[in-house]
Amino acid sequence: MKSVFVEKYSLLTGLGESVERNFNSILAGECSIHSEDFHNGRISFSRIKSDIINSRSFRSPDTSRLEKHMIISIEDALSSSYADPEDPSTIFLFSTTKGNIGSLNPADPYKINSGRIRLHEMAIFISTYFGNPNTPYTVCNACISGLSAIITAKYLISGGKYKNAVICGGDVITDFVAAGFSSLKAVSPEPCRPFDEKRNGLSLGEACGTLILSDEDRTGERIIVAGGSQSNDANHISGPSRDGSGLYLAVDSALKEASLTSADIDSISAHGTGTVFNDEMESKAFESAELSAVPVFSLKGFFGHTLGAAGVIESVLSVHAMKENIILPSGGFETCGVSGSISISGKYKNTKNDICLKTGSGFGGCNAGVVFKKNV
C-alpha cells in the first residue's frame, strides 16, 4: 500500500490566521478564549476575527461565514501545494459537525430551501469553487470528524484511488451550538483548563483548517500518516466510558497499523476538552496503552474546542511541531487533576518529536487515534 504524506496545511483560529502565527502564539502561551453572558449564565468561547473575511472578496454574495473560512483556508494551503484542485486525481473531504446550521429559519426551521444547510451541498459548493471535478466526501462524526476525514483520506490515497486529498475541517459558533452545550452544562464560564485539577468544562471555539495529503513526498518533509483507527465505547451516547477502554482500542489499532509500539511515541496531541469526565477517561486510556511517560498536550486551552475543525487543526499544529522538533505545551494547565498516570506537557520543549499520536473522542461514543511519523 502507498505511503500517505502530509504535503501542506493552513488554519484560522481565534488566535489568528496562518500556521506560524498560531504556532508562535501557542509557544508564547497566548489564549483567544473570552467569557460572555449567555441566557442567564456565562460561557467561554473563542471566535475567528471578522477582519479576516472582511478584507477579502468572494465570488458568490450568499457565501456563508463558514464557507468563507473554508475558502480562505483551502486557498492558503493550495497556494504553496503541488496538488492541482482541478485534476481528477485530487479529492476534497470536509469535516464539520453543524455546517451552515446558523442559516435555519428561526420562524420555520423545517422549511429548508436555501443556505446549503445540507452538509453535502456546502461541500459541493466549496469543491466546485476550486474547480474540482469529483463529488467531495463529507464526514460528520461528532468531535472526531477531522480525524475520521484524515483516516478516510489515508484509505483513498493508499488504495490508489486518488493522488491528493484536500481535507478541510470547519465549524462556527452559533446560538444552536452554544445553547446545546450550555444545556448539557458542559461549558466552562472561564477559559478551559484541560487535565488541570480546576477544570470545569470546555470552551467553545471556532476554527477552520486544511490539510493536504499526497501519495508523493514532493516537499521533502517526509511526514506520513502512518496509522489511523476509530472505535466506539458502546457505552453511552453523550458520556465517555469511565475506563478509557474505547479510546485504548483506537490507539492500539492505530499503532498496529503504523507498525509501532507505545515506546516509539514522542508526543501525544490529546483531545483534552477540559470537561471532568473526558480528560479523566483519556488519562486512563493513555495509561492502559503504556504511554504514561510520553508528553501529552491539549491545544484547546489556547483556542477552545473547535468541534468539526478540531481533528484537522490540532493535527496541523502537531505536525508543524514535529517539523520544528518542538513538543507543544498544554494550554491552561497548571496542576494535574486526572487519576490516570500521564505526563502533561507544561512548557514547550525543543526536543526530538518524530512520532506524534493524535487522539479524539466524541458524542456517540466514538474515539479516534492517528499516528503521524517523520521518516528519518
Binding site: P109, R118, I124, N141, Y155, K161, F176, Q230, S253, G362
Partner: protein, 203 residues
C-alpha cells in the same frame, strides 16, 4: 476461499420493511410505523423509545438484519464496525432543537434532544445495543454511494481493523425516510453466500 459476504440485509421505506427478501408492510406515519416494527418483531429494548427518529430508523434496520441472521446479542468481536451514510444528517432533530431556542421568552433547550443533533449518534446507538467497538463513521452524501461504502468497508477488513460490519444508508427528514443496511462479515467458505461487492449490493 475467504471473502466478505453479505450475511443479512434490511431496507425500510414508507411502504415496507424488507428483510432478506421477506416483506413487512410499513403502515401509517413514521412514528407509528416504526413502533409497529419494534412491536411485531418482539424487540425488547426500552432505550428505543428515547431515540430520535433517525436513530430509531437505523436501530430497527440493524436490529432486523441482525435478528434475521440469527446474530442478535451474539458475542461479537470488538472488531465489528458501523459505517453509515446519510443525506439529511440530523436535520430533523436539528429543526426540533432550533424551535426550542428561537424564542427567548420560551427558551427550553433540552440536552436529551441536543445529543441527537449529530448523525453519528445513530451509529453509537447500534454499537451500544450490540457492544460493537470497531471503526464507526458517518458520511454525508446526496445519494447512497454504495461504491464508496463497499470500498471503505473492504479497506477496513483488509487492514485488519474489522472482521464484521453494519453498513449502508439511513436517511430521514420529517416524513421522508429510507434505510438500506447490510450486515457483512468475513467468511471462510463463501459457497452459497452473496459476496459484498458494489455490484451485488446495487442489485
Amino acid at each position: 476461499m475467504s471473502d466478505i459476504i453479505i450475511k443479512s440485509r434490511c431496507s425500510i421505506d414508507s411502504s415496507a420493511a424488507v428483510v432478506n427478501g421477506k416483506r413487512m408492510p410499513f403502515s401509517g406515519d413514521f412514528s407509528s410505523g416504526i413502533r409497529e416494527l419494534y412491536r411485531s418483531n418482539e424487540i425488547n429494548y426500552p432505550k428505543f423509545y428515547k431515540m430520535d427518529d433517525l436513530s430509531k430508523l437505523a436501530f430497527i434496520a440493524a436490529e432486523l438484519a441482525l435478528k434475521d441472521a440469527g446474530m442478535l446479542q451474539e458475542n461479537y468481536t470488538v472488531k465489528t464496525g458501523v459505517i453509515l451514510m446519510t443525506s439529511n444528517s440530523s436535520l430533523d432533530t436539528d429543526c426540533r432543537f432550533s424551535q426550542s431556542i428561537t424564542d427567548s421568552d420560551n427558551y427550553y433547550p433540552s440536552p436529551a434532544v441536543f445529543v441527537y443533533t449529530l448523525p453519528n449518534v445513530m451509529a453509537g446507538e447500534i454499537c451500544i445495543r450490540n457492544s460493537f467497538k470497531g471503526d464507526n463513521c458517518v458520511y454525508i452524501s446526496g445519494l447512497c454511494d454504495w461504491g464508496f461504502i463497499v470500498d471503505n468497508v473492504r479497506f477496513l477488513f483488509e487492514t485488519g481493523k474489522l472482521e464484521a460490519c453494519i453498513c449502508g444508508w439511513c436517511d430521514l427528514f420529517m416524513e421522508e425516510f429510507s434505510a438500506d443496511i447490510c450486515y457483512v462479515e468475513r467468511c471462510e467458505d463463501v459457497t452459497g453466500y452473496r459476496l459484498f461487492t458494489s455490484e451485488n449490493v446495487k442489485m
